[in-house]
């Protein structure tokens, strides 16, 4: 079974006292890096609390003089995209409606397929698996038009269902890869024991494999969720008006070239739109790293 590598102690068993000065240096470097990594987030958060004039008068980087909480209200339900002045709220809902089902489907199907490929060898499995994982590398731009034609032919153009379908199928590349790499480490004897017990393909998956899969499912869920949530190209092309995902609304806000920039509202909208994925990383990040370890390095 893949072991949780990130959990306990580790590292060089350094002797604590003799390294005192170099430990100070380590903390210094780490702190500097952390500051650099946090900087963009901090800037956006600060700007989301500053009025536009304030930003224009100084720079993008600065402490808010008056907390402009209004930016959030405006971003959430105020600013206008075309005739609708509903902020990004409805678009958040759309994103959720696309992201949640697509994440669930691609994860579940990927888990079943990864399980089949890794634990139930069948003829040609390596080829199929190889091709599917190559999908990770196929550029998005190449797929836009073919998808258009496919969606037209199956009558799903301009529907959220179509987007869910696209993300499910494309997501399989990732989920199959990671699930397979994870399941490969599960002892085959478990499957054998279950077969002797009389369990079939699905019962083994459902009762034995799935309960063991939480580390990798967390990884795929996090990965799929953030990627689908952040996706923009398909979202804009294949949905219309009030059905568009939140990334489209963000672009509308930031790419409005014919307008004076509203950095404050824009920042607030960025924060709100990124909140779901940020929270997922905040709470799931530790499992993410653990599962990534189990699923990636093979």
């Amino acid at each position: 079974m893949p072991r949780g590598v990130m959990s306990g102690d580790g590292g060089l068993p350094m002797r604590d006292r003799s390294f005192a000065p170099s430990r100070a240096l380590i903390y210094l470097i780490v702190t500097l890096f952390a500051a650099a990594y946090l900087a963009p987030l901090v800037v956006v958060v600060l700007n989301s609390l500053r009025a536009d004039e304030e930003i224009a008068q100084s720079s993008m980087i600065g402490w808010p003089q008056h907390m402009a909480w209004g930016n959030y209200a405006l971003a959430w339900s105020g600013f206008c995209v075309a005739e609708t002045c509903s902020g990004i709220r409805p678009y958040m809902l759309n994103s959720a409606l696309i992201t949640i089902p697509a994440t669930i489907f691609s994860t579940l199907l990927g888990a079943v397929a990864g399980y089949a490929v890794s634990l139930w060898r069948f003829r040609g499995d390596n080829w199929i698996y190889g091709i599917v994982t190559l999908g990770l590398f196929l550029p998005q731009q190449m797929r836009l038009l073919p998808w258009t034609i496919v969606l037209r032919d199956i009558g799903l153009i301009n529907t959220l269902t179509g987007l869910v379908l696209i993300h499910t199928i494309q997501g399989l590349s990732f989920t199959v890869l990671f699930c397979r790499n994870y399941y490969i480490a599960i002892p085959h004897e478990l499957i054998r024991a279950a077969r002797i017990d009389g369990a079939g393909f699905f019962r083994i998956f459902w009762r034995i494999i799935l309960p063991l899969s939480s580390p990798i499912l967390i990884v795929t869920v996090i990965w799929q969720f953030t990627h689908i949530w952040n996706e923009f190209l398909y979202g804009v092309t294949f949905t219309t008006g009030q059905q568009q995902p939140v990334t489209a609304a963000l672009i509308a806000l930031s790419a409005a070239v014919a307008d004076i920039p509203h950095y404050g509202v824009q920042s607030a909208a960025v924060i709100i739109a990124a909140l779901p994925t940020l929270l997922i990383y905040l709470f799931g990040g530790r499992y993410f790293v653990r599962g990534l370890t189990a699923g990636a390095v093979k």
């Binding site: 224009a56 206008c80 995209v81 075309a82 005739e83 836009l144 038009l145 258009t148 034609i149 969606l151 037209r152 153009i157 301009n158 804009v236 092309t237 294949f238 219309t240 008006g241 568009q244 489209a248 609304a249 672009i251 509308a252 806000l253 790419a255 409005a256 070239v257 014919a258 307008d259 004076i260 920039p261």
Partner: protein
Amino acid sequence: QGAVKPRLTAISQWSAGSDGAAITALGKKFEEKGGIWQHSPVPGFTTEMMNKLRAQIIAGDPPACSQLKGPEIAAWSKIAPTVDLDAVVAAAGYEKVVAPDLAKLHKPAGKWIALPLQIYSTNMLFLSKRGMDKAKADKPPVTWADFNELAEKMKSAGMAYPIANGGTRPDDGQKFEASFAGISPTAYRAALMNLDKKALEGPEIKAAFAQTRKIADWCDPNVGAQPYATNLKRFVDGDMGMLIMGGWAQGVLKNAGFKFDDYVIVPGPSDNRKPVFLLNADAFIFWQRKEADLQAGQMLMAQLVMDPAIQTMYSQITGSIPVRTDVDLSGEGWSDGQRRTAAALKDAVASNQAVLSLAHNMAQENGLTAAMIDVITEYVKNNKIKPEEAVSRLADAVESAR
């Protein structure tokens, strides 16, 4: 009206700012007339809008009408059937009041399939009142020499960057097309609209590149790829003095809370002292639909778009001028700038100095335009490229993109 309630599906790129406001107002009018207004603004860039249009056309589900302009109307009309608007245009007597060059673009095969909505000139010169005061200047420049002199004056008056333009691709294109058309509208027409090989390598185009370099040097290099709107506050405050831009900047200025008397708008510099008009017109193309309600909606939309009252309302929001040349701009709600633009158009048409904007995709199809803008923007951003080199690169780009 028939039994069906007119309905209109439309896609456009206008989602925010004064453009958004104007299209929204148009929608209100449409609904007042009993229609159902289904507008999908596509956020992002023109490309995204065209992707969407393409996707819908490929899917066999085009919108009843969509934003499209210039030669693209002709190109796109070949890939899907469009609506013949001749009857409704004739009924409105519209043809007489539209500039002929413009009309031609909207009836590529001889029939009206698209309707222009508003007109801009991309080479209007915005002068900051405070900037002018600072430079102790009171006369707007007429020729490029005047312009250059004024810019120098402003610079010595303490403005580090007298010109407030931005750094986007169309912005760079505008710097160049304004220079070129101002130097010689004839050469401009020959080179950029007709792609005449000799004109493409002529002395005028080289002079235009030289002038473009001057303008670029007066712009804030730090603007990067940001739009001119980033600079508007500095422009109004008099930290920057001039802006070469289309009339739409008025809408943006208004939206940002600035007043009409903060700045002056005059036609862009023209070395023969007669106004040069770089025509940029937004338009709607109408796609064939079988549904009765959509067809009714298309007719209603066409009537609205041609209606002087609607055009007035629309232009007053965005800062453009109406397509109809018979609209009276003397009334309330029109700015001096708009009046001057309208007058410039009239003069330019009269002296055959109204040309189509390259930067805003009016002169050539997108592919060719983009190839030319590549050369121009690289030239603007790289002062090591000499004008003669730029000329030959532009000619090469035209050659390979054709």
